[in-house]
């Protein structure tokens, strides 16, 4: 067994830092173009906050895409449902939302977010069993079924809550900004960044430090082999789908508070954005999704400030540029 025992040193694994550096390079490159330091900080913080909210919405979709090879065009429904469900708590308890105490605000915000996640996750269970289970492995039918599901969900929201836009004011203690010299940093954006980072770290912790995480990572790469090792990957699919739907619901609440309004088509409006992030990041890659969300938000904010007319197409241009550079996204995980 000489030849198998002869162990040549492995080539040092190449650590691919370039995608991680992209947001930093982009931010620094924008500084001279924007001119004003305070505007640059405001735009950068706004980008980070917006990116975190998009990441929360997109993280579930990228895992579902990577692990289950499911094109879920109905992902936006979970975003809308999450936002609407939150209004069930936030509107009746408006006095708590308008109270001056941060603790009182959070005491109503936290249950609203948890309820939104729970209902969106439960809806994910129903959607997976009813709409997706019959069409596993059939992309065209998946697109038709999930797009249909999105339309049905949107119309159901109209039927239940009416066609009007529902105002959803920010809790009092999250209004306004922290002022540091010339720089104003919105309080809610800081909260959005914090929540986004917690979600990112939580997902990374589960994926890298638990056996379930190992199974998800292995399943993204080769579902068949995971089954041949004796694991029922369908159950794992369902769990990931529910968690992904729940995160979309949380993202919906965050986004609705950011916009201070809820409407039935908000999920539909965000679907394209979320798909762009998932494609840019590389299907199934949480790290890629995180960077992709940041880049999309930065391009939208910097682009909107510098060349407002470009804002409409900036995300598409970004996606084209990234895919020309890396056709399978920033961090390719699957071979699909």
């Amino acid at each position: 067994m000489t030849d198998l025992a002869a162990i040549a040193a492995l080539p040092k694994p190449k650590r691919d830092f370039l995608p991680v550096l992209l947001p930093v390079i982009l931010a620094l490159a924008m500084l001279p173009l924007i001119g004003s330091g305070s505007s640059w900080v405001t735009l950068t913080v706004a980008s980070f906050a917006m990116g975190m909210m998009i990441f929360i919405m997109a993280s579930g979709l990228t895992l579902v895409f990577g692990l289950m090879d499911v094109l879920n065009f109905g992902h936006g429904a979970f975003i809308s449902v999450g936002a609407y469900v939150a209004t069930l708590v936030l509107l009746p308890l408006a006095s708590w939302v308008q109270a001056d105490s941060l603790l009182t605000n959070l005491a109503v915000l936290a249950p609203a977010a948890f309820l939104a996640m729970a209902v969106s996750g439960a809806l994910g269970l129903v959607v997976e069993r009813v709409l997706i289970l019959p069409v596993y492995g059939q992309h065209l039918k998946q697109i038709l079924m999930t797009t249909g599901g999105l339309i049905v969900a949107e119309q159901a929201l109209y039927a239940l809550w009416g066609p009007q836009i529902i105002p959803l004011p920010l809790p009092t203690s999250l209004r306004g900004s922290f002022i540091i010299g010339d720089i104003a940093i919105a309080k809610y954006r800081l909260l959005a960044m914090l929540v986004g980072l917690v979600v990112f770290c939580g997902i990374q912790l589960v994926l890298n430090r638990t056996k379930i995480g190992l199974l998800i990572r292995a399943g993204v790469e080769n579902r068949e082999m995971v089954e041949a090792l004796g694991y029922r990957i369908r159950r794992l699919f369902l769990g990931v789908f529910m968690v992904g739907s729940g995160l979309a619901g949380l993202g919906g609440v965050m986004w609705a508070l950011y916009r201070e309004q809820v409407h039935a088509s908000m999920g539909n409006d965000l679907t394209v954005l979320v798909f762009i992030v998932v494609i840019i990041g590389g299907l199934g890659s949480i790290g890629g999704c995180f960077i992709g969300a940041l880049l999309v938000a930065m391009v939208a904010n910097y682009g909107g400030f510098l060349v407002p007319k470009l804002a409409l197409v900036s995300n598409i241009l970004l996606m084209v540029a990234i895919l020309m550079w890396r056709p399978r996204g920033l961090y390719a995980v699957t071979s699909r």
Partner: protein, 240 residues
């Protein structure tokens, strides 16, 4: 010698293709059964059907007396079947350790067994925390086999483990498989390398066009050049 695995009249359809066309054979416990045949004969399809990745459309498959032809892959694996696919299918984004942790589904890794595996696959110890994707082809094959034997299994299904490896690595790998065999494993081994087949096989099955066209002792086939040429299109000697 009891039969651990038996296939009786097994047919498999993949899409509109009729791949296995009534496969019958038995794998005796504690022995290595070679499955030989030309490319496209149905060898890989046979292993995939046994492990349940492709559902048999007709026939019976029994493992240790239990019918499994309608069972799902995870259930078959949990009955004690280890599978080493032709593509190796190591999880390249996971470390060597993580690949083996996943394979040890019944609990934490058994240190004694791990030492036994390291004794013939020393590279796995050295690259324990390295990404499996950065291993060489031979090392990936070691990992793929180690994954199948990290816990005791009743039956090992191994698909062309020497494919694409350098000749020196092949010789070493044959020694490793022989050690696993000495440990009492029951193996159904698909192999195109006749040297490997002769070294490892107790019994031999030859497939052609989705059917078993020959079954017998490996030693008898190895000694009969005319039979080799008739069944396989070339002799063992021609392959040396």
């Amino acid at each position: 010698m009891t039969d651990l695995l038996t296939l009786a009249g097994v047919h498999t359809h993949v899409g509109r293709y009729h791949i296995l066309q009534g496969v019958d054979f038995a794998v005796p416990e504690g022995q290595t059964t070679m499955l030989l045949g030309r490319n496209g004969a149905g060898k890989t399809s046979t292993l995939r059907t046994v492990i349940g990745l492709w559902q048999a459309s007709a026939g019976q498959i029994s493992l240790d007396g239990q019918r499994i032809e309608n069972s799902a892959t995870p259930d078959i694996a949990r009955l004690g079947v280890g599978y080493v696919p032709e593509s190796m299918a190591v999880f390249s984004d996971l470390s060597v350790k993580e690949n083996l942790v996943l394979a040890a589904r019944d609990g934490p890794l058994d240190d004694t067994r791990l030492e036994w595996i390291f004794s013939f696959f020393p590279a796995l110890r050295r690259f324990w925390l390295s990404r499996a994707g950065s291993l060489s082809g031979g090392q990936k094959q070691m990992l793929s086999i180690a994954r199948a034997i990290v816990e005791p299994r009743k039956l090992l299904l191994i698909d062309e483990p020497t494919k694409g490896l350098a000749p020196a690595i092949v010789v070493a790998l044959i020694e490793c498989l022989a050690e696993i065999k000495r440990h009492g494993a029951t193996i159904l081994l698909v192999e195109q390398n006749f040297h490997a087949a002769r070294e490892l096989g107790d019994k031999v099955l030859v497939m052609d066009n989705g059917k078993i066209v020959h079954r017998g002792e490996m030693a008898a086939l190895a000694a009969d050049v005319a039979l080799q040429e008739r069944l396989l299109g070339l002799s063992l000697e021609a392959h040396q």
